[in-house]
Symmetry: C2
Subunit: 254 residues, 2 copies
């Protein structure tokens, strides 16, 4: 585990679901969590998409929770046969699945007489897990050690992230500045590398674009110090100016 | 490696790029490759998103290429400092990076006098790699053993997939049928599990939806035998009928 005083908190996300691997569903939980964690000063360092297969879920969670401060999972906590996340996480931690009394109470309050046996499955969590509130549809997520198990439905997943955000140890928010110009990457690679070397604490990314017959490159600088990012932006604009190119500073780019 | 006579070919995808982990870019290469491989009868079994960090790229590629028939990577093969895929794959295979004469020829034909030293970086591949055609912008991808290294720009990535498709050993296309009804998952979980048990060769997924105040569930059956999928669809419609619910068969769902 990283020294909290020196190194930023890190995170990984495991997306559980055949529907993403088949191309049926375009995942939006990854981008959402990336941005939300960035605002909390936590670096999302890996995303894995795995199928609804217990051994694959176990392997991903164990590998990632050893490497990163936090692991989040989304998907597979509903009432149907393909919802195997709770059982898989329990197996990963080598503990039994138990029916959580408070989760049963919440489901009963939500469903009343319609609380079927199938729905009671949503009260099952690994022994020792604590519940994560679901203000949308009652069925809770859960946390065990550094693993946070969230719903796959984006609206519910997002509410659960807010439920756990106060429990996460982050750092200064990760900020970004971006600038774009009608330059091909091959024309700026040299001076750009020099700017990256000058500012090692900043992550400097180069992204080519093509639109309406024009081609260009967007450069994105990410880091936690606003003054340093402003200095990098100044260097990037000077680089474009040296090449005789107009540069546009982009606001609201992550 | 799986017995080609019995087990379907499998694949994993490694998305290389800080821009996906920051939430700046919504990946579309994953869904595209999932669908294209499905049509070729190759199962996409895992996707990993890793940052522009050599050790992370090496670890992902080595782990996945041992488990699956094919590994595809996208991103990081341009001319800038953050394009480290070729060097990382070479390190994973413990071979040097070499400047490929045919790649140099293609870049020279494309760029002419503008073939800068930075652009020549795009001709560098691991020793022993073969080139993957790029009909869009010349700079090739490459293949080494069961690892296919593709561009990150979707249009180029897609063209490269077509370039390599004839070299992939697939199987019967993976087909799907889908049906939707205004049923909550908790109402159908029992009979649905029974249908899954009856048809073990089919992957039967359950996906809740909410739209305009209505809630419901879409059921997706995936497999390679059209007659079996038709039989599963009949069972699913009968299940909804037993519950007194109208079901809608969805066309064009993956």
């Amino acid at each position: 585990m990283a020294d909290e005083e020196c190194a930023p908190s890190t995170a990984a996300l495991v997306l559980i679901g055949n529907e993403i691997l088949s191309g049926r569903t375009q995942d939006t939980n990854g981008p959402y969590l990336a941005q939300r964690l960035g605002a909390l000063g936590i670096l999302l360092r890996e995303i894995r998409v795995v199928p609804d297969v217990e051994s694959d879920i176990i392997a991903a969670v164990l590998a990632l929770r050893a490497r990163f401060t936090y692991v989040f999972t989304t998907g597979g906590i509903g009432p149907t046969h393909d919802d195997i996340t709770a059982a898989s996480i329990a197996a990963a931690f080598d503990v039994p699945v138990v029916r959580h009394p408070e989760a049963v109470r919440r489901l009963r309050a939500h469903y009343g007489e319609d609380l079927t046996e199938a729905r009671l499955k949503m009260a099952e969590v690994p022994e020792g897990a604590s519940l994560i509130d679901n203000p949308v549809s009652a069925a809770p997520g859960f946390r065990i050690a550094n693993v946070f198990v969230l719903a796959g439905v984006p609206k519910i997943m997002q509410a659960m992230v807010e439920s756990v955000a106060p429990d996460l140890t982050g750092g200064p928010p990760i900020l970004s500045r971006a600038v774009s110009a009608a330059a091909r990457e091959g024309e700026i690679a040299g001076p750009l590398a020099a700017i990256q070397t000058r500012w090692p604490a900043v992550d400097l990314g180069s992204y080519p674009w093509a639109q309406g017959g024009l081609v260009g490159t967007t450069l994105v600088a990410r880091g936690t110090d606003p003054a340093v990012l402003e200095a990098v932006l100044t260097d990037l604009c000077a680089m474009f100016d040296d090449l005789g190119l107009d540069a546009t500073i982009l606001d609201g780019v992550r």
